[in-house]
Amino acid sequence: MVDYVATQRMPTRVRARARDSSLLRNLDWVLLATVVGLVGYGLWAIAGITKLDVAGDPDFYVKRQATYALLGSIGLILAVLIDPQLYRRHSRIVYGVLIAMLLLVPVIGVEVRNTRRWIELGSFQFQPSEFGKLLVILFLAAFLADRGKRVAEGRTVLAATGLAFVPMVLVFLQPDLGTAVVYAAALWATLFIAGTRWVHLSALLGVAALAAVVVLWAAPAAGVQVLADYQHDRLTGFLNPSENPQGSTYNITQSTTAVGAGGLDGRGVSGATQTNLNYLPEHHTDFVFASLAEQRGFFGASILLLLYLLLIWRAIKVITYATDAYTATVAGGIAFVFLTQIFINVGMTIGMAPITGIPLPFVSSGGSSMVVNLSAIGVLQAICVRRR
């Protein structure tokens, strides 16, 4: 029956219209609704969390975040319209843009609290490493898909790792350890979906674990400092939060206190003292989940987590819609990078993961993150609509 329909020759214009209508028809509406729900929920959360942050303008951050969401929607629509194969064909340009952006940061970047992560574009601060998350996936997927069956070869894995290592190091030097970890997750996920052999994947995990041990324990013991002291303390602090509650584990202590104090149904906007009195640092960016949990309680936090679960489920489903290894890898990479970010960010606020500066997708206040996450959803939708 399918053949019958397909064999009908249609005039070009009619075919184009059919494609357009198929674009809308094949859109993953559940995924879209989930994302709309997440952005809306995020705006509502930010509204409560930042109510007292800017004197005289309680809606400052919500308005800003809504603007970012609008910008991100444009990115989403554009990403749906663009055939993902375009990125594959121009994967070298993708990689070039990625490296160029990251190289620009130390040159013209703005320094904020001893880190250089942002480039100023007029009044908008733009964070290349956030965009890098998507670009890394697009590039690695293209690189691996182009290798076809050679994905199974160790050389390919090494080459991919080497190529991913460059942006990781650049981001690590900003310093932004968390984003570097996300890039590593992107590498591992793309290799995984592209079909790399288990041995290679395990070896990669082994090397990562070894690196962590060396950096966090062996090297300091031998007198070589790879990480700054504060980074080291933050990474290990969550293992023993009561060690130095006024110092290196201050954030983790205050954050778990905030989350716990939220209880079942939250302390409300005005009752959330950990947030309102600034005990919780960075409560509208990195620690936004802790603030949400304090204000809205277990119920409020669970709604967000369930929305995330839905999002990732739909993203994984997109892998099955893929028409080729390339798009499948892209979809898998995006799904896993979302998972990584959510797990590390939420985990750190509840004392289960080291403290690294990773934003919570769709909720943390920040333009680059919002635009890039919505664009990633756009890419997923683009894959979805071009299914057969």
Partner: protein, 661 residues
Amino acid sequence: MASTGARLRPGRFLPPDPRAKTPYRLTPQMVFRIGILGFLVLVAFAILFFRLWALQVLSGTQHLQAAENNQLRTLRIEAARGPIRDRSGRVLVDNAAATAIRVYPSDLPDNGAYGELKRLAQILHVPLADITKQIEEHKGDPVTPVTVKEDATDAEVQFLTERNAEFPGVAVEDIFIRRYRFGDLAPQLLGHVGEISEEQLKGQRVYRSGDRIGQGGVEAAFDKFLRGQTGLARLRVDSLGRPTSEPLTDADPIPGHGLKLTLDAKLQRAAQAALVYGIDLAIDEGNWNANAGAIVALDPSDGAIRAMASYPTFDPEVFVEPGKRKQLQLLLNQENAERSNYPALNRATSGLYPPGSTFKPVTALAAMQEHILAPYDSIQCTGEVTLFKQRFDNWNPFVNEPMTLPTALAESCDTYFYELGKRFYSLPPERGQPLQRWATTFGFGQPTGLDAGSEGSGLMPTFKWKKDTFTAEIDRIWKPGDSIQLAIGQKDLQVTPLQMARFYALVANGGKLVTPHVVQAVQQGNARSSGPAGPLTLRRFSPPPQEIAVDKGALDAVREGLYQATHATNGTSSTIFGHFPVPIAGKTGTAERVIDVGDYSTLMDSSWWCGYGPAQAAELVVCAVIENGGFGGEAAAPAALRVFESYFGKQAGLVQTAEAD
């Protein structure tokens, strides 16, 4: 499927284009990997949910507690201290609202605390060293604030309030400070208010670190009435310790009760002036080292203190006024205090002096009670006498006549009393030490039981005391000279002016030993809450006098002698009191004391006068002592007269000082 479909399509016989890519299909391996990915997702979310459940639901209460404690600081709100009034209701001490600048050491920033304190010191004009020293002292207790300045000006308060973001850990708090309406009136007796010290904190549960409590005198002794009840409030603070709300009151502070003293502000003022006058007189007459003294005036009927002056003195404002902090050092620093002759010492209660001839009535009463003296028998008074192979001089070498007790008292004949001393010494051992026993009965050698402030016991030399105190065998024996010198109040005997006044009250009231007291009542609340009838009295203090079995005739003889001493031709202070419209009776005294003068020590005379008036129905006992003031008639007697003048509102007219003991 698509490729097979293409192959089956009619008209396409050519094999597949070799450039066409291998068609993509969802291999079982891919499905497996997607499955693993899904499993990872489920595990990750399960972990997050369980942890969230554990944190928020299982141990939520604990964390809520921690969050509450995080941001609430308990403040102790000082209650307004009760006012202190004199006997006629004049307010001597009350409160003024002030603004204190306090530093909470625990809230100071880790970095830049020094810079912040330095700036604070500059703004408040307080030496930086003072602040850092205080913080250092409170190191073990970083939660209690350190008061940097108690009386900040409006400009300073405004400056700090506007910039509170720049001064984390610095708080502006409303407090009460003591206001001394009569300036330097009786500062040693009233005491002051100050922060509790480490030693005072030990072993008690009433006060807390950082409390300001009564220090010394009435303020300390009646602190439990004056202090009221500290209120409690909670203050919300942010993560930098800056207040984010007005304090939420848990318990309102309850103002302290007022005190009504027996003191008369006017008489107290007069006594303080009289003391200065007496010292000036002594210096004018060549007693260049007259530099200190005390006057006690009390009501002989119940021991109510009407005035209690001590010199040198100080201005209690030094404890309040930041500009006078330097002078505070004169009181608190041992070395400085010595240089300024201990202005904080209440000489009326703690100054120990040999009483000299003012003690003679004690000897006389004891001798009559022990029946070794008949008051109207004569004893020859001479310029000198040799007893037990030892020569004893009279203060007046030119006298040689028989005297009865009243005359001997009036002219203060030493040889008369040497004779009594000899009689006491010569009593058989089974009679014990009757002079010491009677003196003890009259209140000497022990605290008087004054209700406020510290008190000296004095020293009553006894056989046992000598034996216990000295090591050399010769010094440990009670010798005739000890009895003879004791009879005229010399050598080892030491008394306080208050003990002396108490004894003269006993003489004046006919044998009742009163308990001196300065607080007569506790009154309700603050000045504002008083109705037209004055503040409500909650509690009254009137310690009952103790009846002493003293022979009326013996007392009359002594009183006769004391009256003659101020009125008879040869009375030692007749030139001073003789023309005063109110009949005053009293006794001079000149007591030798060893005084360190620079590098050497010498004997110097303390000038004494004790007495009462009106002589027949005494209303007021006055006891004055001026250190190194010469004869009693030179300095102490004229000073005491000034107090009587103020009390009775009458002038004495021409007064001549007398070089008489």
